[in-house]
Symmetry: C2
Subunit: 428 residues, 2 copies
């Protein structure tokens, strides 16, 4: 059976919703890469009984238990104490760790608070994971079967590996990469999981599931449909003794999906519409300029978030009021009076205007209404026009998003639809 793991986050601030548990996601991704299945995430507060119950439950079901948080110097940092008590071993004092913490404070020119000395304690039998980035060291501990029995786990067949990491994401990831992950790779990696996500837009998750229903039944690779925030994807997962073997098993299915996905398939894994559009522009040696009203700079920001975007995007204009639309994009006041700023005519004018102003291959423009409090006329919230200008042609599309959507959702979807319209145009 494959090695499996559970991840326990400790911290009352997580249960109050004050911070987001990004650690569980990060560790799950990392474990998948090493070929270890994550069975469960649990979050408990800074409470001895509940931390102990979560650790015990995880040890009863999984080979590896990773705990984040509760390693700090304050009285509500309880992880180490709970582990020692649960498995009935004494806490021992780690001289090297103490000296490292003392050195950190000396280096910062600050006195070391009494409470920090607590961070040099570890359960007897465990080892320290040094913290390159902060004072809280982690621990790694192969808990013997006898101690698991003491804690109340019946008939444990194997030892359990417990890893305790700091809760602060930066410290946690630094420690993970430097020590815990290499250890797991050496000790547990047997089967490697290979995964890729094939991303679609312009099709719903259920339509996608039906279109590829025949592929969803397989076992290695498995294919599963997921809905993203605005797109959807097929997740293809294979396992093998090596990454190459796993990938080889997945390859025919991935190729099949690519072939049948057609234009709706826009990318893979971390691809975004902006990265795909950027790559297409760069590879075709074409340039773009963007004129935005309702999206207020979002399209320009998304495109320029790609390194090297300056090669294909030199200019973006947020022409938020009518004056800017006339002054910079040559949309005439007569046109604005006659059709309004939220109209197919205005979108076309903006696309033409920005293309000429920038001297770019393509002009992309968006105008619409995302909120009741705009300066716009009595048109419906959610009405958006998108135009693409190239050579003498301007194509325009109308969108009507649900008026109940929050403002940011209308803007976000408008930017997606604009980038997608351009993407399909670039693929023609």
């Amino acid at each position: 059976m494959a090695t499996n793991a559970e991840i326990i986050a400790v911290g009352s601030e997580l249960l109050l919703g004050q911070i987001l548990n990004t650690n569980a996601r990060y560790l799950s991704m990392e474990l998948a890469e090493v070929g270890i299945d994550t069975f469960r995430h649990t979050t408990v507060g800074d409470n001895k009984e509940r931390i102990a119950a979560a650790v015990l439950h995880a040890c009863a079901h999984s080979d590896i238990v990773i705990i984040t948080g509760g390693l700090g110097p304050t009285p509500d940092d309880l992880t180490i104490e709970v582990l020692a008590q649960l498995f009935a071993v004494p806490m021992v004092y780690d001289k090297e760790t103490f000296e490292h913490i003392a050195w950190l404070f000396r280096r910062a020119g600050k006195p070391m608070p009494e409470s920090n000395s607590k961070q040099a304690l570890r359960p007897a039998g465990s080892s320290i994971l040094p913290n390159p980035d902060g004072t809280a060291p982690g621990i790694i501990w192969t808990v013997p079967r006898q101690l698991l029995k003491t804690a109340g786990i019946r008939h444990p067949r194997r030892t359990r590996l417990i890893i305790a990491l700091p809760g602060v994401p930066r410290e946690m990831t630094a420690m993970w990469k430097a020590t815990a992950r290499p250890y797991l790779e050496k000790t547990f990696a047997s089967r490697v999981i290979w995964n890729c996500k094939l991303r679609f837009c312009g099709i719903t998750e259920s339509a996608l599931a039906e279109k590829f229903a025949d592929l969803l039944q397989g076992s290695n690779p498995t294919v599963a449909p997921f809905a993203g925030r605005w797109d959807c994807y097929l997740s293809v997962t294979a396992s093998g003794r090596t990454a190459a073997e796993a990938q080889q098993l997945a390859a025919p299915v991935v190729a099949e999906i690519r072939a049948r996905g057609e234009l709706d398939l826009y990318g893979q894994d971390d691809d975004t519409l902006e990265s795909v559009v950027g790559s297409l522009l760069a590879s075709q040696d074409r340039t773009l300029a963007v004129a935005e009203s309702v999206t207020g700079g979002l399209i320009s920001h998304r495109l320029t978030s790609q390194p090297g975007a300056v090669a294909y995007l030199g200019l973006g204009i947020t022409a938020y009021d009518n004056r800017s639309k006339s002054l910079l994009l040559s949309v005439s006041e007569r046109l604005l009076d006659r059709y309004g700023a939220v109209s197919a005519e205005c979108a076309q004018g903006m696309a033409r205007g920005i293309r000429e102003l920038a001297g770019a291959t393509f002009g992309l423009a968006v105008t619409g209404i995302a909120t009741a409090k705009g300066d716009t006329d009595d048109k419906q919230i959610g009405l958006v026009y998108i135009a693409v200008a190239v050579d003498g042609n301007v194509t325009v599309q109308k969108r009507t998003y649900p008026p109940v959507w929050p403002r940011e959702e209308i803007c976000f979807c408008s930017s997606n639809d604009a980038l997608d319209m351009l993407r399909r145009r670039l693929l023609q």
Copy 2:
């Protein structure tokens, strides 16, 4: 004893680390506001046995069990099925829900896939929570003691309330606000928790904790410092029999923090730099235009994300290449040749140029290097200049962010520092 809750997220993609569980955080915050303690978050995959085990465990320990995810139309959406099986009740078909789903597809002009009809099923005895935003309805179910016994919970003293919500955050929050939260408020709220966050920038979390050390010892209200992504805040929490009583208890402490916070205190709760800057511009009846290079439209997008921004922001220009800086912002080619695009001189020129072009009270400009792959000279990654122009004056500030930071972090912090510079200028 206070009412408590557990939150269970269902979805293999969470355990693979493909998506982040933001729902647990949102629901925890909401529950705290209603005065319900969250005891635990659990995440399990799309697996019948593990979903059932998590629900059973939660029902054994908590009054309220909230499940997110697994309500979709595909075969790996299992929540409803598991609930019916666990408590040994049949699934019943909800005609109204079916008709709503069918209507959604008709409205979208698409055929309804067979699989979506599954979403009209619910466990007998439960009620449907309508989904204003998507096809997946939620359910709410007061599970009687007898059924809890059937499922294997020994001596249940009370009924349990199970709420199942969609996993897509937008649909989940819409359903939560419209139906589940009002129900919980009516049924469970006894002591009400009042909380406010006082937001600071330009000061670190530990400096904040030292500055307000005397206030961190209280019990009702409590005051606790937290670090956000780029800012930090003091969280003030009081409890009382009514919201008014709780707020009254907190008021003197909030007033004290406000008085001592000075210019570093920029807002409260959901305030953002862009909302605060927008309010200041609107109330002072002043206008702004933005010229961006490194931030590529981010500042403009953040400002226009405020409803009514057109009153104070008419124009934003992403002058990403040097041509746009000269052509539109009147930054001379000689200046660009001599000092480079990433220079105090260029930032000043951009701020002056955009202010004049737009005829605005303020011109705000940012230029810098966020990535090695730019078109820029040999200056260091992370070097950013921010300028504010008003009347005949231009002030400029230099920032050097760590070159190891990811591109998006440098852009995000540049936009924060730019908005904060303007905010402090508006408060002078």
